[in-house]
């Protein structure tokens, strides 16, 4: 248990997990829709402010899990309620809590039917998402991981677009089918570790190589579907396109990160040998995702689909950074997870605002709005620049670190940097598809539809978008604030990886510069 720093004082993490869940109860008994909106905004804002306590209490100089709480849960199987936070998860938790109030704001007028039920789903989602990132007991993790499917399914299935049924079922089946074997892997690890589900105890154990491969594949299936990595991505465009704005934002900003978080938290430390063995394949899959996402996004006429495919590309960068297994790459990946959460979340909000006005997601019907919605296109421009990693914005830092890490990975292997060069076209493609969209939305052509009736975004919408812009520049200009939080944890992960004296120790030596 030495990996845990038990937290004295109020149980911050438990409060963050259960506050939204408990606060969903009053919604069941009050039929007033205005109350539902205001109350949910209040709850998510309180949770967001309270989560800042994590930031101030977080000790950046230790790699151990902090704010830990441990309670016995199911004695018969030695299952405990253990939660904790380290440098890898803290930013993701903060991203989740901070983004939720804006999801509520984005749904203010967008969701007009069954408002209460929608807000209940949002609150349940928030609980489950925070739970996933802080759970240190594998069963607890799995419970949150799966329980999240139900509210997300309902968000897409009830409030979604025309093809919501297809999209919601595909989302549910893909994710569930991916994670059933994860359950078997968890049980295997439980039996191997003296009947314990405690995650830190499962790490760096030197399991049998073949077993590691099988466990890794179970992890891979579950996490790669969630990320989603090429070729498991087909649920994503469908789900993104059909989901209501808040659903798309949650999906893009938080849900996709669970897959990459899973790789970092579980796949690397629990199955290091298998990671080294299978990393090349995953790296090339990431490259495939980057290129494929870029080209497909270039061909889309539906704005949401365009952003959805761009997510496939961006998440390809993240998995690339993780599996090159060096400090720059992994830190870049974590930063890129946050960046993608901020930027893509904001882009979905922007598309949602247009959709609320024109009731169409087609790029064709949104051309030439720059003249009539100047504030809106200003925001959109910055977010688009951020999306293709323009210097000065957040994504630039993340992508640059990942690419630099990839080069040094190739160099450390003493070979020509094929991998890094292969990723470069992805960055170019991103500029191409984002600029194409931006150009059409702002100026369009000679055959623009009549947009003169469009009203520019109102105060609520400005308040929704402004914080995203703040983070775009904050991370872009001063990434050190964010990198500091994760630095020690990532360094510790890699040093343990290097020190891991198993079957693959020599290979690790080659991998680490």
């Amino acid at each position: 248990m030495e990996q845990l720093l038990i937290h004295t004082g109020p149980p911050v993490l438990s409060i963050l997990i259960f506050l939204p869940l408990i606060c969903a109860i009053p919604l069941l008994f009050n039929a007033n829709e205005r109350f539902a909106r205001n109350w949910t905004l209040l709850v998510t804002s309180v949770a967001a402010l309270y989560s800042l306590k994590l930031l101030f209490g977080f000790d950046r100089s230790v790699a151990a899990f902090q704010f830990c709480e441990k309670h016995t849960w199911i004695q018969a199987l030695n299952i405990n309620y253990v939660v904790g936070l380290d440098g890898i998860s803290i930013l993701l938790v903060l991203l989740t809590t901070l983004i939720m109030p804006f999801c509520v704001l984005a749904s203010w007028t967008y969701i007009s039917k069954r408002v209460r039920a929608f807000m209940v789903c949002l609150l349940v989602m928030e609980s489950a998402m925070i739970g996933v990132f802080v759970a240190l007991d594998f069963l607890l993790f799995y419970v949150f991981w799966e329980a999240m499917l139900i509210p997300m399914y309902l968000i897409i299935g009830i409030w979604g677009g025309p093809r919501k049924i297809y999209a919601s079922i595909k989302f549910f089946l893909y994710t569930l089918a991916g994670s059933v074997l994860l359950l078997v892997a968890i049980i295997w690890l439980f039996v191997q570790n003296g009947y314990s589900f405690f995650i830190p105890d499962m790490m760096w154990k030197g399991y049998d190589f073949n077993a590691q491969i099988l466990v890794f594949l179970a992890f891979f299936l579950a996490f790669a579907i969630k990320v989603p990595m090429f070729p498991f991505h087909t649920w994503l465009p469908a789900a993104h396109v059909e989901a209501p704005t808040a659903g798309s934002v949650i999906l893009a900003s938080v849900l996709l990160k669970m897959g990459t978080y899973g790789f970092l938290r579980f796949a690397l430390p629990i199955t290091p040998d298998a990671t080294i063995y299978l990393a090349p394949a995953i790296l090339w899959l990431s490259i495939a995702g980057i290129i494929y996402g870029g080209f497909t996004a270039l061909a889309q006429s539906d704005m949401k689909k365009l952003i959805a495919y761009s997510s496939v590309g961006h998440m390809g960068f993240v998995t690339l950074g993780i599996f090159i297994l060096n400090q720059q790459g992994i830190e870049g990946s974590i930063l890129q997870m946050i960046n993608h959460g901020v930027t893509t979340g904001a882009l979905f909000l922007c598309v949602g605002m247009i959709y609320e006005r024109t009731h169409s997601r087609e790029l064709r019907s949104a051309t030439g709005v720059g003249k009539f919605m100047p504030i809106y296109v200003t925001f959109l421009t910055f977010f688009s620049l951020s999306s293709f990693a323009f210097p000065g914005t957040n994504s630039f830092v993340g992508e640059f670190m990942i690419l630099a890490g990839t080069f040094s990975f190739d160099v450390a292997h003493g070979k020509f940097p094929y991998l890094a060069l292969a990723a470069i076209p992805g960055a170019v493609l991103a500029a191409a598809y984002m600029l194409r969209m931006l150009q059409k939305i702002i100026w369009g052509g000679t055959d623009n539809p009549d947009q003169s009736w469009l009203k520019d975004i109102n105060k609520r919408e400005i308040i929704t978008l402004a914080p995203f812009l703040l983070f775009v520049f904050w991370i872009g200009l001063a990434p050190q604030h964010f990198l500091d939080l994760m630095h020690v944890s990532v360094a510790n992960l890699l040093s343990q990886f290097a020190a891991y004296s198993g079957h693959g120790a020599t290979a690790v030596g080659q991998l680490l510069p």
Binding site: L77, L149, I165, S168, L181
Partner: protein, 473 residues
Amino acid sequence: MVFLPELTVMAAGLVFFGLSLTASKPEVVRNTAYVFYAILSLVCLGTLHSSGELFYGAFRVDMFSQLSKLAIAVAAFIVVVICGGHEGIKEKFFPEYQLFQAVSVLGLMMLVSSVDLLAIFVALELSSFAVYVMVPIRRDNEGKMVIQLEAGIKYLLFGVVATGFMLFGMSYIYGLAGSTNIAVIAERLPDLLHEPALVIAAVMVMAGFFFKLAFFPFHFWVPDVYEGASNETTAFIAAAPKIAAVALLVRLASLFDIRGESIGIILAACAVLSMFYGNLSALVQKDIKRMLAFSGIAHAGFVMLGVLTFQTIGYASAAYYIFGYMLMILACFMVICCISKNGDNVAISDFTGLYQRSPLLAVTLLIALFSLAGIPPFIGFTGKFMLLVGAFKEGHHVLVTLAAINTAIGIYYYLSVVRLTFCTADESQESLVINKPNRFMQAISLVLIVAIIYFGVLPNHFLNLMQTALSGV
């Protein structure tokens, strides 16, 4: 005192018999049933800690049997409440119907206490015969009596064949061991374990329980009977006999240590076949009761994972799972009874847009179905998880993997019902009449929801109780 629950049921049966002789009003019968099953549940609760033996050691009362009786009584109580309207039963037959249900409950209660082959046989027959009659008693809306009679005949024939096998097997066991008392047989078992005759006999005896449990390959009656019997009868068949069958299986398994023997392998194979058969067949069903019938076959396979561990915790998990199954399936049937018109069968498409018509029923159905599918944090997940862990610990790796894959298959058909309930707008059926759940039923529905979540999230108490109870077996 130790026989008090059974005496209460007998008294209830006599009262219903008396009511059947007079022209009693349906409300009277219904209210009598509520009161009796409520009293019965309380009596079972009160006698939870009693223990003793009766009838020359053939009837054993311990905490395990009393807990099972409590579960059976609660199941019967919920069944009479959720099907309060008795839409599917002609009013003329109300008292008789209740009489048979009481007799069946009596048989099941005796079954969980039986520790003698003959007592088991008599109790099993008592509970079965009553149900043989209950199945064809169904309101006949078209004047054709076709499906209920087919169901009745099918249930009777399969039941009799299964019992025949069982009795035949028992005669072998008696011949080999020289006694009908289970404890005595268990003592002599080690010498007999490698006799082929014993394997055959044991498999035959199990046939009887597998019939009750709807376990492969004794599942053929299930879909047709579920479809043919009235909704309330099906709810009863789906919940109560399974509890008794699992309780008895657990009791037998804890006495006969047959780990690694050929019987265990046969059971494991049947469990896997049960899951695959049930889940794959359920995928294509259009009638909700048939779908639940096939899903029940799959769940029976899951329960067997717990029995196969031959460990206390495995048995406790199996008991936990079947208890959870009872809650989930009764929640489903509550919704079915409310949707059903005049007690007719309910097609899956009838759930279209239910969320708009009755949010409470829709949420009850949502939670019950996701729990059946094994999604956390509901009881169905926790139960499934513990069964998988138990089986994995015992080295049934392939079995566990196949079971996990089955979860992924199963989710599809549960989800398709949820999809219709929540995500499909109700266009044509806006006028569809449903039996508005009265306050009492709303309360039961809330209780079921809370129980499914509560026992799913905090199973500690239940498991500890079960383990204590099982240590006394």
